[in-house]
C-alpha cells in the first residue's frame, strides 16, 4: 500500500458566509497526475489554493477539516507556511512571470531560499520545462517579451527551481494556443515521474490524456473520485455524465 501524498479529511471552506467546499474527503497518491474537474465556480481553484495556503490572501476565507501533506496538516499550528509553499509548486491560470529577466524569474525562488549553484538550477529547471533550447542564449531578456506559451513554461520552470515535491496547476493551458497547450501536456506527463501533480482543468479530453485519477466537483461537493479512465467510461453520478458529455462546459 502506497502512502498518500495528500490526504483531504472532511474539508469545508467558506468565503465569508459563502460555503465553497463541502466536506471533501479523498487522497492523492505520489507520482500521479490528478485532474480536478467541474463546472465553473465549483471551487476547483479554491481547493488547490488551500493546498499551499494561498487562500490566506483572502481576508474572509475560513475553513474546517484538515489537509495532510506527507502526514502533516497544512493548517497545523506548527507549520511554517513559507517552507510548506517551498515544497509545493504552483502554476497559475494566466502566465504571470515577474517583470524581470528570464534568468531572474527562475532564480527568484532559489535565491530567496538561499540555495547554492543558482546557474545550474536555472539551467536544469529551464531544461525540465523544455525552454532551455529556446531561451538559453538570451537569459537576460525581459520575461514579458516571451510568447504566452513560453511564459507559461517559464512559470513552470520558476516553480520547479525550488525542488517542490508537488506541483499544482490551475488550468495552465486555458490562455494558450493548441500547440503551446500540447507542449505543456507533454511536460506534465514527463514530470509525473518525479512529482505529484494536481491539475485543474475544464477540458475532459485533456484530463483523459494526462491524468491517472480524477475528481469531479459540483457546487463545492465531491461528486466522484477515482481512476480517470473508469470515471470516463462509467460515471456513477448523472451530473458527472452531464459534465463529461459537455452539458455544463
Amino acid at each position: 500500500m502506497v502512502e498518500a501524498k495528500i490526504q483531504v479529511n472532511d474539508l469545508n471552506a467558506w468565503y465569508g458566509d459563502f460555503h465553497v467546499l463541502k466536506s471533501l474527503n479523498f487522497e492523492i497518491l505520489p507520482n500521479t497526475v490528478t485532474a480536478i474537474m467541474g463546472p465553473s465556480g465549483c471551487g476547483k481553484t479554491t481547493f488547490i489554493r488551500i493546498l499551499n495556503r494561498l487562500c490566506d490572501m483572502v481576508p474572509e476565507f475560513h475553513h474546517t477539516g484538515e489537509i495532510l501533506i506527507d502526514g502533516q496538516d497544512v493548517f497545523g499550528a506548527d507549520i511554517d507556511v513559507y517552507e510548506l509553499r517551498k515544497g509545493i509548486g504552483f502554476v497559475f491560470q494566466k502566465p504571470n512571470p515577474f517583470p524581470m529577466s528570464i534568468y531572474d524569474n527562475v532564480a527568484y525562488g532559489p535565491k530567496t531560499h538561499g540555495m547554492k549553484d543558482i546557474n545550474e538550477i536555472v539551467q536544469r529547471s529551464l531544461e525540465q520545462s523544455a525552454l532551455w533550447d529556446e531561451v538559453g542564449h538570451r537569459l537576460d531578456e525581459p520575461a514579458l517579451k516571451l510568447s504566452g506559451g513560453q511564459q507559461q513554461r517559464l512559470c513552470l520552470a520558476r516553480a520547479l527551481a525550488v525542488n517542490p515535491g508537488i506541483i499544482l496547476m490551475d488550468e495552465p493551458v486555458a490562455f494558450l494556443d493548441p500547440i503551446s497547450a500540447q507542449k505543456i501536456e507533454e511536460l506534465i506527463m514527463t514530470l509525473k515521474r518525479d512529482y505529484t501533480i494536481v491539475l485543474v482543468t475544464h477540458n475532459v479530453q485533456q484530463a483523459l490524456r494526462v491524468s491517472d485519477s480524477a475528481a469531479f466537483l459540483y457546487l463545492g461537493e465531491l461528486i466522484e473520485y477515482g481512476r480517470t479512465s473508469l470515471i470516463a467510461e462509467t460515471p456513477k453520478d448523472p451530473r458527472t455524465e452531464a459534465f463529461l458529455t459537455g452539458r455544463f462546459g
Partner: protein, 312 residues
C-alpha cells in the same frame, strides 16, 4: 488587494510565536514600516495641534467679521473676503477655459477622430499631445515663477490689484482642472454618447448636454482640488495683489488675502500678539482648505476618481 490583511487577522497573527526566522523578520519589517508611517503622519498632527492650540485663543466672531486695524488689532475679515474674491475670480477665468480645453481634447480631438479628414486627425493628435504635455509641465512650475510672471505681465497692465492676483492664480489652476476634467470625461461610457448621437445630436450638443452632466461630479472634484491648492498660495500673490486693510470689490484695488496676511505676520517679528494672530489666521486658512479637500475627496468617491495627495 496587496498583501494587506484585515485588522483582526493582522492582530491574530501577532498573538503566536513566529514559526521561522523569516516570519520573525516579517514582523520586524512590519513594526519598522509602521513606525515610519507614524513618523510621516506625526508632523501633520503636530502642526495642526500647534496651530489650533495657539490660534483658538483669538478666534471669535469679531475676529472673522471685522477688518484689520493695523497689524495687531481688529479681525481678518479683509483677508478672508480678499481670498474668496481672488479665488472666485480665478475660478471664473480658469473653469471655462480648462473645461473647454478638456472637452475639445477628449470629445472632438479624440473620439471624433475617425470621421474627420486626414490632416485634421493629425492636427488633433498634436493638439491633444501639446495640451497634455504643457499642462503637466505647468503643474511643475514653481509658484514663485507664477508670481514673477504675474508681476511683469498682469501688474504691468492692472497694477497690484485684485484682478492681477486673480489672473495669476487662474494660471495655477489650469493643470489640476484640465487633467481632472479630461479624466472624468474619458470615464463617461461610450454608450451614453452613442445614445445621444443616435437621437440626432451633433457632437457639440452631445458634449454639452449628456457627457458634461455625467462627468459633472468629477469636474467639480477637480475644481475643488484646484481651489484648495491655490487658496493657500502665497508666492503668486507676493508681487501681484498689494495689501489692503479693507476688502473692496474693485478689480483694480489692492486686496488682502489669508496666506499673504500670515506671511506679513511672520515677517512682523516675534511678539506674542503677532504670533497668535498669525496662528488664528492659519486656523481659518487650514479650515477652509480642509473643508474644500474633504468635499473633493468625497465627491471623487462618488465618481470613482482617485484623488491623490499632492495634486494631479
Amino acid at each position: 488587494m496587496g498583501t494587506s490583511k484585515s485588522i483582526t487577522r493582522e492582530l491574530r497573527s501577532w498573538f503566536r510565536l513566529p514559526k521561522s526566522r523569516r516570519e520573525f523578520l516579517d514582523r520586524l519589517t512590519f513594526v519598522f514600516l509602521a513606525v515610519i508611517a507614524v513618523i510621516i503622519t506625526l508632523p501633520f498632527f503636530a502642526i495642526v495641534f500647534e496651530v489650533v492650540a495657539n490660534g483658538w485663543i483669538l478666534l471669535n466672531p469679531a475676529f472673522i467679521l471685522t477688518n484689520m486695524v493695523g497689524f495687531a488689532e481688529g479681525g481678518i475679515r479683509n483677508a478672508i473676503v480678499g481670498s474668496i474674491e481672488l479665488v472666485a475670480i480665478a475660478s471664473m477665468v480658469a473653469i471655462p477655459l480648462c473645461v473647454g480645453a478638456a472637452i475639445y481634447t477628449t470629445e472632438y480631438a479624440q473620439r471624433g477622430r475617425r470621421r474627420a479628414r486626414r490632416w485634421v486627425q493629425e492636427l488633433n493628435k498634436w493638439v491633444i499631445r501639446i495640451v497634455e504635455f504643457t499642462a503637466d509641465v505647468l503643474a511643475g512650475v514653481p509658484s514663485i515663477i507664477f508670481g514673477a510672471f504675474g508681476l511683469i505681465f498682469f501688474v504691468a497692465v492692472f497694477g497690484r490689484s485684485l484682478i492681477a492676483g486673480a489672473l495669476t492664480l487662474a494660471l495655477m489652476m489650469i493643470p489640476t482642472i484640465l487633467r481632472t476634467t479630461q479624466e472624468s470625461l474619458r470615464a463617461v461610457p461610450l454608450s451614453l454618447r452613442e445614445a445621444s448621437l443616435a437621437l440626432g445630436a451633433t457632437t457639440w450638443s452631445t458634449s454639452w448636454r449628456v457627457v458634461l452632466r455625467a462627468a459633472l461630479a468629477g469636474i467639480i472634484t477637480g475644481i475643488l482640488l484646484a481651489i484648495g491648492r491655490v487658496i493657500g498660495e502665497t508666492a503668486p500673490l507676493l508681487f501681484t495683489t498689494g495689501f489692503n486693510f479693507d476688502a473692496p470689490w474693485g478689480f483694480l484695488d489692492a486686496i488682502a488675502s489669508l496666506p499673504f496676511t500670515i506671511y506679513l505676520y511672520a515677517l512682523q517679528g516675534h511678539t506674542e500678539i503677532i504670533r497668535l494672530r498669525a496662528y488664528s489666521t492659519a486656523i481659518v486658512l487650514i479650515g477652509i482648505v480642509f473643508v474644500v479637500d474633504v468635499i473633493a475627496v468625497w465627491a471623487s468617491k462618488k465618481v470613482g476618481l482617485v484623488v491623490r495627495a499632492g495634486g494631479v
